[in-house]
Amino acid sequence: MNPPLGYRRETPGAHPPYDRPSYTSTHKRAPRHAPVRLEHTLSEITGPRFAHETLAPGDDDMTHFNGGEAMGERIIVTGRVLDEDGRTIPNTMIEIWQANAAGRYAHVEDRHEAPLDPHFAGVGRVITDQRGAYRFMTVKPGAYPWRNHHNAWRPNHIHFSLFGPSFATRLITQMYFPGDPLLPLDPIYNSVPDRSARERLIATFDIEVTIPEYALGYRFDFVLRGRDSTPTLS
């Protein structure tokens, strides 16, 4: 049996450090010891898989909930999940969550004084198709204050959770919107050291993705780690 290939490591500069002084919540949560490098084994090159049965009808349409239609600017978000070699990743689950159009999460801990929307849960789930593509509809999330520092506001963003093919490829991230004036001020967005890497978190407006008379459209691709070129230990 040929030893299976491991996965490439984090690209330097492409991911935030744990310790980020301008993001207050890191102060007591960032480990002080450097992580111990672990050579990839079967434990890291395997990972959970999720079938289409885990989806419920409407999981790809966040604009309708509880018998009514969400307030806000309807948007389509679509794109592909790829690896670093440009290979598409089919049948991989993407979990989605976000604030409503007023900048409020349907979450008991969110006390921002903006209205809740009874017809917006802010939760979605999709699985990529055979070409690695995904698509869902939602409303554009509002910005909201978050008390990290004086007058701190999070830019408009959507949260995403992806698994990819292995334990090593797991990724949770946030997608931002082009032209948002809050981006230069946001410690979380700016925690990514490399500027071009940060900018990969900004979706692209695409008139071709819109539905005329109905919804605007954005493109956003996810790129997960690719296979290493040398066999892993196994």
Partner: protein, 187 residues
């Protein structure tokens, strides 16, 4: 040009409605093979305070040491009632718990077996990217030769080994920072 990695961002404090489903903290069905265990613990910050908004994920091999994944081509039985993935959020005191089975030993480097272990991901507000660690089992002879355990400074190794709290209940605390900080891995 090859596509470039999408950066990680924090899971933030508001993930529970989207990511946490009741039942995901149990990896077993009544038909799963193997020795049933509970794993209980707390996630603690640098002040030893419980982290109330963390998410823990487990990924593990079945009772025979086989992962339910196409890249595991070992000639061991798959278990149709055990897939090896679990997920739980911490509560207001930082506590979490899982029901699972003790995994069998899976291969590591060369012909050597790794000691039985569970792979762990930790996400939370304040963690800009995931932390990963491993849960090892006490009184496990293979621990002495496990390449990953042996790559860790001896005085910190005990942070990776669960304690027996009572029969079939293992305790594994995750200390993010400070004294007895858990060993985390660069995967």
């Amino acid at each position: 040009m090859s596509p470039l990695q999408t950066p990680s961002q924090t899971v933030g404090p508001f993930f529970k409605p989207a990511l946490i489903r009741s039942g995901d903290e149990s990896l077993v069905t009544p038909k799963s093979r193997g020795e049933r265990i509970a794993i209980e613990g707390r996630v603690l910050d640098g002040d030893a305070a419980g982290v109330s908004d963390a998410m823990i994920e487990l990924w593990q091999a079945n009772a025979d040491g086989r992962y339910d994944h196409p890249d595991d081509s070992q000639e061991k039985l798959l278990d149709l009632d055990f897939h090896g993935f679990g997920r739980a959020a911490t509560d207001e005191r930082g506590r979490f718990s899982f029901c699972t089975i003790k995994p069998g030993a899976a291969p590591g480097a060369g012909i050597a077996l790794q000691a039985p272990h569970i792979n762990v991901s930790i996400f939370a507000r304040g963690l800009l990217k995931r932390l990963t660690t491993r849960i090892y089992f006490p009184d496990e002879p293979l621990n002495a030769t496990d390449a990953v355990l042996n790559s860790v400074a001896p005085e910190r190794r005990s942070t990776l080994v669960a304690r027996i709290e009572k029969p079939a209940v293992l305790r594994f605390d995750i200390v993010l920072q400070g004294e007895n900080e858990t060993v985390f891995f660069d995967v």
